[in-house]
Every structure is written in C-alpha cells, then in structure tokens.
Symmetry: C2
Subunit: 160 residues, 2 copies
Amino acid sequence: MTVVQEHSPQKGESDSKARLRLWLRLLKASRQIEAELRERLRVEFASTLPRFDVMAALSRHPQGMKMSALSGVLKVSNGNVTGIVDRLTEDGLVVRAQVPGDRRASLARLTGKGHAEFERQAKAHEAWVDTLLKDVEGERAERLATLLNDVVHSIEEKEK
Amino acid sequence: MTVVQEHSPQKGESDSKARLRLWLRLLKASRQIEAELRERLRVEFASTLPRFDVMAALSRHPQGMKMSALSGVLKVSNGNVTGIVDRLTEDGLVVRAQVPGDRRASLARLTGKGHAEFERQAKAHEAWVDTLLKDVEGERAERLATLLNDVVHSIEEKEK
C-alpha cells in the first residue's frame, strides 16, 4: 500500500504525459488525414471539403435545411455557408426553395443530380478513409470510435 | 469456409464503415479539443495557439531556429511565422540574432523570460489536456498514441 502511494504521483504524471502525447498524435493524424482528403477531393472531383460537408449534411435532411441550421451543424459562419450553397446551386447540385410562412428564410435541398454526385463522392471518400486508416483493424476502429465519442460527450457536458 | 467467404464482403464493408466512423469522431474530437485549448490560452494567458506552437518549437531548439525551419516544423507560411516571432520579440519572449555567414537569415531563440513563460503555459496546457482526455486511462492513451503514430507514418510513407 505504501509502495502504491509512493508511486502514485509518478503514475499520475506519466498518465498526463501519455494523454499529452495522445493529443499531439491525434492532432497530427487528423490534420494529415484532412489534408489528404482535401487533396483527393480537389484532384478527383474538383471539389472542396466544405462543399462535401454541405452536401453530406443536406443528404441527411431530404426535407431541406435552412442556412442557419447548416451553419450550426457545420460550425461555419452563415456567410460562408451561403456562398457554398450558392455555388452548389449554380452547379445544379442544390436547389433553394422558400420556407412557407417565413419570407426571409429559404430551404436548401440536394437535386437529383446533387444526390447522385454526393453518392459518388461519399463512396470515394469512404474508400480513401479506409485506405488511410488501414492499419486500424475493424473492431479496434469500432472501439476507438466509441472511446472518442465518450471524450467528445464529456467535453460537451462540461460546456453546458 | 464457405460461410466465411460468403460473409467476407460484408465484413469488409463494415470495417470500412467502422473506419469512416472512427475518422469522423477523430476529426470531431480533435476540433473540439483544439477549440478548448485556444479558448483557455486566450482567457488564461491572453495568447494564441500559433504563439504557443512557436514557443514550443523554440523551447526544443535552444540554439535557435531560422524562420524557414520554424515554418517547416509548424506547417505555417514564412510570413505568418515572422509576424508571430515579431510580436513575441516585442513582448521580450524571443530574441533574434544574425546567422554567422548568412546576412539575410536570422535565428530566433527564447529569452530567459520566454523560457519561463513557456514553462508556465506548457504546464497549464498539459493539465488542460489531462482533464479533457480524463476518460482515456493512461495505458490506453499510450496504446492509442502508438497506433496513431503508425497511422501517421504509414501516410507519410505513401507520400514519399
């Protein structure tokens, strides 16, 4: 018992060093993977990550989304989201419609062409991620995802 | 054997979904932690993450670093690094000295005050990360950090 107590400050310190190392690696891995995905979207689809993220959000909301909702989900400013939606609209991938009873708001939805294009990109995106994370065996990926989810939730809880 | 073969495409698909989920959680966790750290640096030290990163790099190079080396390590443009170093110099945390034999280059180093200030901030930073990742038990953090290191290296290998 004495031994354990004697060692516990050291143990505490090494835990905090291990967590610091984990954070630095997490940051490095996520920046590197993000850079790879940006590059591939650019080369293979002449597109960008923000465009992909907007399409992904819209594909989960077939009834359409307001700019404010999109901006909230993507944690991007309203102005940026509007610019991206405008360009997707010009490309025929998104259509904007009036919100009944709210003259100033409009709902953005994927068009048929937009759905098809997103499916194509999402399939490629999933395959890229699969290759980039191939070192992480499937079940381990599942466990890790759950663990990171706990981390995210515990931070969100603290912010309330 | 037949059963295994019948199931393997499905297994492959679920592995790739697990990796996609892992990537989305990794990205979410890293953005959230980064936002928390930015906020705390701002509130507690009236500082920023780029300033902290520059000081961290300089603290590992007591002999000093050229702007180009700093910019390479931090993956930030030369102009941005110069601006940050200029402000750290005004605050008395960094000093710039001529590189012998290279009139156009200068070496940035932490001053005594800069070292002390970085130590203070690094200690706080480590404690914040420790709290944010408290759900991840020490040994698990170690294993995860190693795994992410493998991921980073395998991506770097591919880029060569």
